[in-house]
Each structure stands twice: as structure tokens, then as C-alpha cells.
């Protein structure tokens, strides 16, 4: 079951998801991912698009052992909050690491990976995952 099964959606998000496109607030200085029009912290309208650093460290993580229906068969997999260099925080899967090898503070780097397949005839969705920094 993929709730947001839609070709236009995947197309629309490709730059933000494939290139880690964030937004910088000229008013309060915050960095957010993904890029958007309005700063969630101060309400300023007009964030500037900025390609975010591809390295960072793990703030917190979990291993998903009971997944939603469209990730069944992939478990266990690690989902983490990654703080990128510069301060933007991203939620993403970890790859190339077993759950027991992950810890808070682990240095990671972004890689391009498959996330899910919408259906037998649907789109294969890709995005950024992180792996231990090499």
C-alpha cells in the first residue's frame, strides 16, 4: 500500500530528494530540509534554496522491525536523524551498516539509493540514504 502513489509527485520532488536541496532563512539564519517557501521557525517568507553538505553525524536512530506495508520484507532497517555539516537535520535511512553497528555521533555521508517500489507497474522511488563515512 503506497499512499502517495503518483508519478507527478515523484517528478515534482526529484530535485529536493536527489540533490538534498534545503532552504536558508535570510531572517533567522535557520537551515531546513527540504527547501520550501516559508521558514517553519520564524515565519519569514522567501527562503533561499541551498544545496546542503553531504556529510554529517547521527543524532538519534532506530531500527524498524515492524514496517509499514510498502516496506515489508526490508526489515530490519535503520532510520536516523542526521545533522548535516552546517546544522540542517534530515530524516533518512542508513545503508551499508547493520543496526548493531550504528551509534549516536557516527559520521555519515549521503549516497543515492532506492527507497521503494510503488507497485509492480509503478515507479521505483529513489532518494538519499546515508552510510558510515569512508
Amino acid at each position: 500500500m503506497v499512499w502517495a502513489e503518483s508519478a507527478p509527485r515523484v517528478w515534482r520532488e526529484k530535485v529536493k530528494k536527489y540533490r538534498l536541496l534545503g532552504g536558508k532563512c535570510p531572517s533567522c539564519g535557520s537551515l531546513v530540509y527540504p527547501h520550501r517557501q516559508v521558514c517553519p521557525y520564524c515565519g519569514h517568507e522567501g527562503l533561499q534554496p541551498v544545496e546542503l553538505p553531504r556529510r554529517g553525524r547521527i543524532v538519534s536512530y532506530t531500527a524498524i522491525r515492524h514496517p509499514p506495508s510498502d516496506f515489508v520484507g526490508k526489515e530490519p532497517y535503520v532510520v536516523a536523524i542526521v545533522e548535516l555539516d552546517g546544522g540542517a537535520r534530515v530524516l533518512a535511512q542508513l545503508t551499508d551498516a547493520k543496526p548493531e553497528e550504528v551509534k549516536e555521533g557516527l559520521e555519515v555521508e549521503a549516497v543515492f539509493r532506492k527507497y521503494r517500489e510503488q507497485s509492480p507497474n509503478g515507479i521505483i522511488e529513489y532518494g538519499i540514504k546515508f552510510r558510515p563515512a569512508q
Partner: protein, 389 residues
């Protein structure tokens, strides 16, 4: 000037796996029980608010206002569904409160309902995830258990707390539910059982999670104008009602351990009610996961940050304790039929304030506070109730 609003009727179904009952059966049963408890003619109810999250995904059924009104024999009433994830019940109650307080409707009803056991577990997980950001959070394969696990791990690390100490919250809730005839799990669990139950999303274990279940709870509210025409002896007043939001996804919050939405909603509701946290005699917290219960105790100031677990360990949450909390079992053991939960919480408080809570009665309870969270506290509904003599 807002009119005073009172709860004059409360009804509920038992929470559980109701294989023989549909969503509408549950809603109608609870609603009619509340109407009967109120002792009013249901035709006097002028508006009906249905708190529900997932009927569209799990039953393929929306338009619950007209559906429930029809099956309860109340067609004609102003009615619609209110959705705010797991805070749907609390948000619906807020609407009902506003309607009665405004004076536009002098007698209204609210019913919170969820029917979860028709779907397979992974599909329930997916349906619950409609409360999160589909495009940038659900996309990652995170679950709600997983998102709370991220907060839980940060909590344990920041304060150097042992998981066993937080997990004890579940033991407390099960102990309370033994005496609640409406509870899904009327049996105790040991800390060893909790800590040896399967991992769902590290570090959260199965018995730290609220269960999947079916249920409905309902309230009849009226304002002071209605009360003058229909006087009664035992009264519970809604003295504070507030809803607040936080930045939706935890990873975007400045500090994921600070429940900013809860702080705001509690502050507004308590200010309207003219009380402070220390005045609360019975507390209902949204313990979808043990860590949320502990974080709430700290956010309300009953314990310093990182020390909420001590209240649990010392029996401070039991009737007669420092702050009696989830005295009928909370989400963990009374159960968490999502859209119903916010109403079940107030149902439980009404029982306490009326002195009808049975063996778990908090002696002389006058003031109750219910905290209902949607998502990882992205929406928070807080209600303050007071017994009026």
C-alpha cells in the same frame, strides 16, 4: 463572553477486538449511552462532532457526521467529523466546547471512535502514518513507533536514564486497568515481561506501546442556559479547553525532547481554568509509548527533566500518590482506539470527579486534566475539568 460548559453525560464501549461490531455500531452504542446518562431527549442535541482518524483508510468510509447521526436516529443535527491524528477525539471535544460556549448550540454531543482490527497490522501502521509528512518522513520507511523511538533514545542518552525506569510506566498502567471494566487489558504485567517483549523499533519494545483496538466514547455537553432549564445535582464543568500545534516532524524541532505544543495547550487551558499544575487531582496523559508519559510528567513540572521516572517508581501515579495519573489504565492498558482516545480520557476523568471510579477512586478528586496528542505531539488537545457542587 463565553458561556460556562458542562459535561452532563458520558458513555463508552469497552475497548477491545470487537469482531462483531462495526465503526458505526461502536459510535452509536457509545453515543446513546452518553445520551441516556445525560437524561436528555436526543432531539435536544443540536450539534454532533465525530472524532476519528482512519475511517477513510481502514473502512473506506468518510462522511461520519451524517452516518452516525443517521444510525443514532439524530439525522437533522449539525454534524461532521473532526480529524487531528491521534488527537482527533480531543480536537472534536474542543469543537463541541466552542459550540456550547458560543451559545449557538446549548446542548451538543461528541463521540470519538476508531475501528482498527478490520485491517492487517502493517496496513494499520501505514494508515497511522497518514498523520506524518508523506513526502519526506513516511517516504523513509519510518513508523510512528520508530519516530517515538528516536525521541526515546535521545531522552535516555541526554539524562542517563535506564530504559527499565521509563518502561515501568507500562507496568503502572496495566495495574490500574485491572479495575476498569472498559479496559482492553485487565491484567498486570511485570517489568521483566515488558523488557523481554519483542523490539518493535529500537529501543521501544512491544509492551511499551499502546495496543491496537476498537472502541468509542461519547460525551453530552451543555451550556449554562440549558442547565437553567434542566437542573441537576452532580456536575462536571469543562473549565479549560485548548488545542495547540508544534512543528509537525520531530527532526525539524529545535529540541525534539521539548513538547512545545503541549506546553502551549496546557498553559492556555490551565489559565482559562484558573489553575496551576499542582491543583490537578487526576491526570490523563497520552502514553502511546512509555516515554511520552514520562515526558509529560516533566513538562507539567511534576518532576524535573530526566526525573519523571522516579514518580512512577515511587507509586506517585497511583490513587493516593503525588499525582494520580492514568488511573483507569491510560492508552497502554485501557486501550488506544485512536480517534476515541481523547474522549476516553475525559470519560475516565468524569468517572473520577463524580466518584464513580470504583476501586481506583481518587478520594475527593475535584480537578482533572487530560492531555491528548496527535502524531508525535504535532497536535495537542488539553482539557481541564472541575467538579461543581
Amino acid at each position: 463572553m463565553a458561556k460556562r460548559v458542562f459535561v452532563i453525560g458520558a458513555g463508552a464501549t469497552k475497548v477491545g477486538e470487537h469482531w462483531d461490531k462495526s465503526l458505526r455500531d461502536l459510535a452509536v452504542e457509545a453515543l446513546l449511552a452518553a445520551v441516556k446518562d445525560a437524561g436528555v431527549d436526543k432531539r435536544e442535541i443540536k450539534a454532533l462532532y465525530v472524532g476519528n482518524m482512519m475511517s477513510g483508510e481502514l473502512q473506506g468510509q468518510e462522511h461520519l457526521g451524517a452516518l452516525v447521526a443517521t444510525w443514532a436516529g439524530m439525522a437533522g443535527v449539525a454534524a461532521f467529523k473532526v480529524e487531528a491524528a491521534c488527537a482527533s477525539g480531543g480536537a472534536a471535544l474542543h469543537q463541541a466546547y466552542l459550540a456550547a460556549a458560543s451559545g449557538l448550540y446549548d446542548c451538543v454531543a461528541v463521540v470519538g471512535v476508531e475501528k482498527m482490527t478490520d485491517a492487517l497490522p502493517n496496513d494499520v501502521t501505514s494508515a497511522l502514518l497518514t498523520a506524518e509528512d508523506q513526502e519526506y518522513v513516511v517516504f523513509t520507511g519510518a513508523t510512528f513507533v520508530g519516530l517515538n523511538a528516536l525521541v526515546y533514545r535521545m531522552y535516555l542518552t541526554k539524562y542517563g536514564v535506564k530504559q527499565e525506569d521509563v518502561a515501568r510506566f507500562a507496568v503502572h498502567c496495566h495495574k490500574m486497568a485491572v479495575n476498569n471494566p472498559y479496559a482492553q487489558f485487565r491484567r498486570e504485567v511485570t517489568l521483566e515481561e515488558v523488557m523481554s517483549s519483542p523490539l518493535i523499533a529500537d529501543p521501544i519494545r512491544l509492551l511499551e506501546c499502546a495496543p491496537v483496538g476498537d472502541g468509542a466514547a461519547a460525551l453530552v455537553l451543555c451550556n449554562e442556559d440549558f442547565l437553567r432549564r434542566n437542573p441537576r445535582d452532580v456536575l462536571v464543568e469543562v473549565t479549560g479547553s485548548a488545542v495547540a500545534t508544534d512543528i509537525l516532524s520531530v527532526h525539524e524541532r529545535r529540541d525534539p525532547l521539548v513538547m512545545e505544543g503541549f506546553r502551549k495547550a496546557a498553559e492556555v487551558a490551565m489559565k482559562r481554568a484558573g489553575i496551576e499544575a499542582k491543583d490537578v487531582d487526576v491526570l490523563e496523559v497520552h502514553d502511546a509509548f512509555t516515554v511520552l508519559g514520562v515526558l509529560t510528567l516533566e513538562a507539567l513540572g511534576y518532576a524535573p527533566p530526566g526525573r519523571g521516572w522516579q514518580l512512577v517508581a515511587e507509586g506517585g501515579l497511583e490513587p493516593g500518590g503525588e499525582i494520580p495519573t492514568n488511573t483507569m489504565g491510560g492508552l497502554k492498558a485501557r486501550g488506544h482506539p485512536v480517534g476515541g482516545t481523547g474522549i476516553y480520557q475525559v470519560f475516565d476523568i468524569v468517572k473520577q470527579l463524580r466518584g464513580e471510579a470504583g476501586p481506583n477512586q481518587v478520594e475527593g478528586a475535584e480537578v482533572g486534566l487530560a492531555q491528548n496528542l496527535g502524531g508525535v505531539a504535532g497536535t495537542v488537545a488539553v482539557h481541564v475539568l472541575r467538579r461543581v457542587r
